[in-house]
């Protein structure tokens, strides 16, 4: 794992992708910092940081796009997968290397609140927590990007799909407004959502019977609950999918100084889920 981590990290800074990412993110944040904090005199660095979120949308796919798709294309994955290292360690090594690339600009960001403090009042606690959550959000995006990269051989497709997914997540609050709220449509929506993991299980196991039984249980459960307590489904879709607006946890801190611990737990579980999915995606390829 250590070998892969070191190699990946070195490769990011040798191929300039890492340097460009760090430079771009720091430069962009620097401009916001000058405008908001230094010129306008606003004491919260966290507010500045929320402006930099958009850089993540382009920057993270840039970092993650090559992680697995390039290996697969150049067949270097043969070296990794035939080495006496478990697949989990390979994926974790790569993931941690990418997380380290994301961590670098965040470490630089840690200096910014100190600059504010030198010139007056600073809210260090809020600022540092927001930097930490910003980093964590970056890690969530990296996990998603890595998963998408493991699905394809083309870096371009990996980049575009990651960018698309991140953009949708960024705009999620707006999209949520279009979702229906009536109990019936919510029930259908829930069934559709539950069908996704069932479809995934079918894809992975190619076992018709198990998948069909699972799907039947999902449908029966939803319909049964709907018949008995229809009110449970009211607005459920919005509540359920609202969690996908990952950035909300971060903006909660930057705008209202509220730290949502549940949200942070959500971040960590999303990271774990996508690392798991990446491992499964690679595993699946070995067997088909």
């Amino acid at each position: 794992m250590c070998a892969i981590y070191k190699r990946e990290l070195r490769s990011y800074f040798r191929s300039m992708v890492g340097c460009v990412f760090v430079a771009f993110l720091v430069a962009f944040t620097g401009i916001y910092f000058t405008a908001y904090n230094l010129t306008a005199g606003y004491p919260y660095f966290s507010y500045t940081l929320s402006g930099s979120l958009i850089v993540f949308l382009v920057g993270i796919p840039l970092i993650t796009m090559r992680s697995f798709s390039e290996e697969r294309k150049n067949k270097t994955d043969q070296l990794l997968l035939t080495a006496p290292v478990s697949l989990t360690k390979v994926v974790l090594g790569k993931y941690l290397a990418m997380a380290s690339v994301i961590a670098l600009p965040n470490l630089i960001f840690c200096l910014f609140p100190l600059l504010i403090k030198m010139n007056g009042t600073a809210y260090l606690k809020v600022d540092y927590i927001s930097i930490a959550v910003f980093f964590l959000l970056g890690c969530v995006y990296v996990a998603i990007g890595m998963f998408l990269s493991s699905l394809t051989e083309s870096q371009m497709i990996a980049f575009l799909s990651t960018f698309g997914v991140l953009l949708v997540l960024y705009l999620w609050d707006g999209i949520l407004g279009f979702l229906p709220s009536s109990a019936l449509s919510c029930m259908i929506g829930v069934i559709l959502i539950l069908s996704i993991p069932v479809f995934y299980i079918w894809q992975m196991t190619s076992n018709w019977i198990v998948s069909a039984v699972l799907e039947a249980i999902c449908v029966a459960g939803c319909v049964g609950t709907y018949v008995m307590h229809a009110e449970l489904f009211e607005n459920l879709l919005t509540k359920l999918l609202g969690n996908l607006a990952f950035a909300d946890v971060f903006t909660g801190i930057t705008e209202n100084q509220i730290v949502d611990l549940g949200g942070i737990a959500l971040y960590i579980s999303v990271i774990a889920v996508f690392i798991f999915l990446t491992i499964q995606a690679i595993q699946k390829r070995r067997w088909s």
Binding site: R14, T82, V85, R286
Partner: protein, 384 residues
């Protein structure tokens, strides 16, 4: 030791590897032969744990590759078809990375890397980026990676591709040296190469193991009917009449060469023993037959069934043989003269080089013959 039991790999409906069963002992060099798409690389990929098998098991020194992957993979050095190189690293960086990846202790990295760099002669390029290396050097880096730590089992998928002749000889010596203690499995398109280096040959066709034996035994497989080649300073009719006098001859093909001599391919009965228990040799009889007719015999030599012929016979199904058969007769009619002369030319060329590079020469000759039977493209690729 590698034990492969009932190995099957399916890609959807396509069966790439069909119930393979074999056991590879240490201290031997095994050659994997088969036409393109026969399932060689797939089998190798499964043996190294890169791909999962649809059915069956693979045990590496008693460790199942799927159940105890890390323990099993520790014993394997693998060079895939395309060397898995990170082109943004220098050669030495890459080898140090591979050493760490393979779980070699940190103290021994230096030694292990130096050893393999010496073995495949990479010292002078060790500081260069792999991206800037030529194909031959890349192949060597890949080979060095597989050799790192000198694992007990070496699986090499076409290790000689892209190497220059001098390198090929060096690597061949290296592999032969390793073959004393290690299990070496290599696949190659160059049959002469495999014949030269391997103790045991496994021929795979359409995912099935069609033959597994030593190169010599494989050649004997077809040697049931012996074939001789002879050249005499005589006309076609005359030669035929002389040959008819030898009862052991079953069949003869006689052609006229450019120089006006007759070139014949003679199929004889298998070498038997005479009443006194001595081996009979038809060559003697042919010689005397020609000398009786006072006809100078310019060339007389046994043409052994070569590995190529064994290979072609074993790997091509009935339909394909028919196809190429009709093709061959067509090409014979069209350009008989020129084809014969090419055989002839290369034949003499072969006898010149024979002493130094026996295998090379016999291969060239083979190529000439095959050109006549309309399988040009494939063979040429193999030869170069």
């Amino acid at each position: 030791m590698i034990e492969v039991k009932n190995l099957v790999k399916k890609y959807g409906e396509q069966v790439a590897v069909d119930h393979l069963d074999f056991r590879l002992e240490p201290g031997r060099i095994y050659g994997f032969l088969g036409p393109n798409g026969a399932g060689k690389s797939t089998t190798m990929n499964m043996m190294t744990g890169y791909l999962g098998a649809t059915e069956g098991t693979i045990e590496i020194n008693g460790h199942d590759i799927l159940k105890e992957p890390e323990a099993a993979k520790r014993h394997i050095g693998y060079l895939p078809e395309i060397p898995p190189l990170y082109t943004d690293m220098t050669v030495s960086e890459y080898l140090y990375f591979a050493a760490e990846l393979k779980g070699i202790a940190k103290k021994e990295w230096e030694k292990a890397v130096q050893e393999v760099m010496q073995a495949v002669r990479l010292e002078e390029v060790q500081m260069r980026l792999i991206r800037n290396l030529s194909k031959g050097y890349r192949q060597r880096v890949g080979l060095a990676q597989a050799l790192l730590g000198f694992p007990e089992i070496l699986i090499l998928d076409e290790p000689m591709v892209g190497l220059d002749p001098k390198q090929i000889i060096e690597i061949r010596e290296l592999i032969r040296g390793l073959g004393n203690k290690h299990t070496v499995i290599l696949s190659s398109h160059i049959l002469a190469e495999v014949r030269e280096i391997c103790d045991y040959i496994l021929i795979i066709s359409r995912g099935k193991l069609v033959a597994g034996d030593t190169p010599e035994n494989l050649e004997h497989l077809l040697n049931g009917q012996n074939t001789l080649e002879l050249e005499a300073k005589a006309g076609l009719e005359e030669t035929r009449d002389i040959l008819k006098k030898v009862p052991e001859i079953i069949r003869a093909q006689i052609e006229r060469t450019e120089e006006g001599t007759a070139f014949a391919k003679v199929h004889t009965e298998p070498a038997g023993r005479n009443g006194l228990g001595k081996k009979t040799d038809v060559r003697e009889k042919i010689f005397f037959a020609f000398s009786e007719a006072a006809c100078p015999l310019l060339l007389l030599k046994p043409s052994k069934a070569s590995l190529e012929e064994v290979f072609m016979q074993l790997t091509q199904g009935g339909e394909q043989i028919q196809e190429t058969g009709s093709d061959a007769s067509f090409s014979m009619k069209e350009e008989e003269g020129s084809e014969v002369s090419s055989v002839q030319e290369e034949g003499t060329e072969a006898s010149f080089v024979q002493e130094e590079e026996g295998t090379e020469a016999s291969f060239i000759q083979e190529e000439g013959q095959l050109e006549g039977s309309g399988i040009k493209g494939e063979k040429k690729e193999g030869g170069r």
